[in-house]
Assembly symmetry: C2
Homo-oligomer: 275 residues x 2
């Protein structure tokens, strides 16, 4: 009965993408590149950023609220472009929503396992993401055993937001954070935070060309494409589009967005949720 009342998504329906702020735009960019015909609805929860220092119950409540809002806009699939929400709220989102839900952790972990020859895999992220153990747990599930090195890199987000993507300061920070992993001989590194892809050239320089850098955005876009195909929901023709929603400070978002997307962003619409 319920399905009769709802307008069922079609291939022409948009994809919903959300993050606690601007970081998820690296995932948005990867989706845009991999799926140029799709319509994307991006929501940045800028009023309640960051999620990293909030409890599982709170992050789950916020995520469900956003998921339902995007469902009300007729999305056919939800991409959780936020490591904290993927780590804490993915099962609740899958239960609570009727559209398929894709998080950033699973795709990155599968890519790292398949890229690694030595089984020595590094993962970097915020303190909250690594403390949740979500990457470590997902990496432990698999046929081949792997050895995981995790390092929280709290300075990387502010460095990215400051626009300091190369030079002595970020390089010094990267050497400090990644030195032990490099010595431990990792051959693949998961960038477990949506801000980090902007530091790729720097990380490549610090780790050397033989370490695979696994970018959540690229892998999540790949997984999104295959889930859409599987459900017969991939859009085969037409021009892609994008709409941006934020929960506060739309202007500030548009300014940062330019840095993350490397192009002009149309103004974002403000949606209000409870606190």
């Amino acid at each position: 009965v319920d399905t009769l009342k709802r307008v069922l998504p079609t291939a022409g329906s948009p994809i919903g993408v959300f993050d606690s702020g601007v970081g998820g735009l690296t995932v948005h960019r990867a989706l845009r590149r991999a799926l140029p015909k799709e319509k994307l609805l991006y929501l940045g929860d800028t009023a309640r950023v960051p999620y990293g220092n909030k409890s599982k119950a709170t992050v789950t409540r916020y995520s469900l609220e956003i998921g339902r809002f995007l469902e009300s806009k007729g999305i056919k699939l939800l991409v959780v472009a936020c490591n904290s929400a993927s780590a804490l709220a993915l099962p609740a989102l899958k239960r609570g929503l009727s559209v398929p839900v894709v998080g950033v952790i699973g795709p990155a972990v599968r890519a790292a396992r398949s890229a690694s020859r030595s089984g020595r895999i590094g993962v970097i992220g915020t303190e909250a993401t690594l403390k949740s153990g979500a990457y470590q747990k997902a990496l432990a599930h698999g046929s081949e055993p792997v050895r995981v090195r995790a390092a929280a890199c709290p300075l990387f987000v502010p460095l990215v937001e400051e626009g300091w993507w190369e030079g002595a300061v970020p390089e010094g920070a990267a050497r400090k954070y990644l030195g032990p992993m490099k010595s431990a001989g990792i051959d693949s590194l998961i960038l477990g935070c949506t801000h980090y892809p902007l530091l790729k050239p720097l990380l490549k320089k610090v780790l050397g060309p033989r370490v695979n850098l696994i970018d959540c955005g690229t892998e999540t876009a790949r997984e999104t494409a295959s889930v859409l195909t599987e459900h017969g929901l991939a859009r085969r023709s037409g021009k892609g589009s994008e709409t941006f929603y934020v929960t506060d400070a739309a202007e500030r978002f548009s300014r940062s967005a330019r840095r993350f997307l490397r192009r002009q962003v149309l103004s974002a619409r403000v949606v209000r949720f409870g606190a």
Copy 2:
């Protein structure tokens, strides 16, 4: 009539101190040092940190709520150990509370004006604090004209919280942020963020020994002492004490507190406010 119902504060009553998180502990430390006989009640609003990206209305609401809570605990004076709250909510706090209220901006500005010989004064802080214009406005009011150079230093807070107070990374960041001020010939620099006093040795190294570093905490403690004396509320005898309240994550607070106070901290009590 109202004063009859309230228990009037005496010299034996405690001083209330609040900040959005742990940063205000540098002010707490300065108060402890300047006023060893006083009882201090510190509240860190860890559930709603940071204040820097919130609107004036929201920061005012939070500040009043905390001020009233501390008044209900019988404080004789309130120290606003938070630059954002001092910039946005001081007039509302002064109107809304019955105890004297001391913010961090006024004392720092007066100290800078009296320390500067050339009238070239620098001020550093978070983007939100500098954008509020509170320091710039306060520096403009005075008998002697001054030339102000302001620089937002978004990486300093995460550097302090990461414990990177010296070495190539923070030094590189400090040179980048302060280079233009140094060239402009400032002779005094206001550290307009409660985290920054922990970077003093580094800033001294970068700016040279002839630039006065104005520490909000020290100046605010000095002002607090004179306001107490003025109101006949200074505690003349007895042993000082301290009580810590937080609005979330008490353990995490106690851990960080050790870094800010350079000593063990008794466990913090959790108080809940609305969102």
